[in-house]
Symmetry: C2
Subunit: 244 residues, 2 copies
């Protein structure tokens, strides 16, 4: 069953008016009487479609779905801005895997140059990808792609743990920091994860982050690409905290 996140406004009037109307009618080909899942205010409801018009769909709520689909910790991903459209996949898959929010982060070795005129439309597109991935993976919330931001402008003070995924440490077989941190996580802890772009984290950035209290971690023996690192981090945290 497909899930759709709706705005508070629409939810109060038990309707859908966004581009999801098109999806429901033309992609899923739903009819009156079909069931869908509605996400609103971090809750999920089983709903029945009661009316389908050109640009609005009405529904009635059948029941609230109980059960929290979220990781027990809050994870902010600071992803070094990568080449091409890799960020699309990173946003999509890290959303499926439970990330809480994402900052595409401009670092020394990012080849990306921020065009301020295009920033808003880029963020809009990234947030659309996150919404669709959150719907498909039955998340309770939509991770926010907050801002495209320069590494040095980020305030990391709110985090309980600050993790830096550093290729050079992986090559030196650093193999205990990550597991030690994950094993000590408690519910609602806030974790910042910084991942370099393709060329990795520059040594000056590394020192800057270390001075802010970041702990550098190796993630197994193989050298991961920038787009794979967050999958390792999120999977391991789910494995450790969610599985029994």
């Amino acid at each position: 069953m497909q899930k759709y996140f709706v705005s508070n406004e629409d939810f109060n009037e038990l309707k859908i008016t966004s581009s999801d109307v098109f999806h429901i009618k033309n992609v899923m080909r739903n009819k009156i009487g079909d069931e869908i899942l509605i996400g609103s205010n971090n809750k999920t409801y089983l709903a029945k479609i009661t009316n389908i018009k050109d640009d609005v769909i009405n529904y009635e709520i059948k029941e609230e779905k109980i059960g929290n689909m979220e990781l027990p910790v809050f994870i902010s991903l600071f992803q070094g801005y990568p080449k091409g459209d890799k960020l699309d996949d990173i946003i999509k898959h890290s959303t499926e895997m439970g990330v809480s929010e994402i900052y595409p982060t401009i670092m020394k070795r990012s080849l990306f140059k921020l065009d301020l005129k295009k920033k808003e439309s880029k963020l809009q597109r990234f947030n659309k990808i996150a919404k669709e991935a959150a719907e498909q993976s039955y998340r309770d919330i939509i991770p926010n792609v907050v801002d495209i931001i320069d590494l040095k402008k980020i305030d990391f003070s709110k985090y309980d743990y600050k993790i830096l995924c550093y290729e050079e440490d992986a090559k030196m077989n650093e193999e205990s920091n990550f597991k030690r941190i994950v094993k000590s996580l408690k519910k609602d802890d806030k974790i910042a994860v910084v991942i370099g772009p393709e060329g990795g984290i520059d040594i000056l950035e590394y020192e800057y982050l270390k001075n802010l209290g970041f702990i550098s971690v190796g993630l197994g023996k193989r050298i991961l690409r920038t787009e794979t690192v967050i999958y390792y981090v999120l999977s391991s945290i789910s494995y450790e905290m969610e599985l029994k």
Copy 2:
């Protein structure tokens, strides 16, 4: 430093004659005297380039790199053949993460129809992706993309553990089977991992696999897309077995 796998033949004569010659000359722009890593017979060597010609590069071995980059267990991925070019990413990233071999597997809900005439060229392309990903991630071996095969034609008898990633179990909050298996893994164990295509595993396939001794596992609370499942599996195994 870039790693290149060379054939036994080329290694015996300390040369490279494959398409890597182009990569070394034109992408990496290496010169005589530069160092590269050479992979051969599951070993990795530090080498120095001694001669560069049009279609051959010679080198001398400086030392053998000690240190095993492989996961301690052998993992065969039976990936339900997905839509579009998703398999390219799955082969690339699961190679980075330590998979041992891959069988693109035709299952009931695969939309893919195998064209026998194209099979060899497809396999060739898949194996090229695996080779490049293995070089980039410093693997000791290149995972073999063995065959495009029908689920029912696979012989699973050699495996110590048989894992079935089943969406319906994830939805029912099955949350103990995977961790129990991973925690009981021993060095050199052989594990088969079956993952459905986009539509998931058909109920008859599910029953067929259960009868063969497969254990169905849930992987955390969120519904993962077909291309993300193996990342969760490999990351968790690395986390459990390689990190301390």
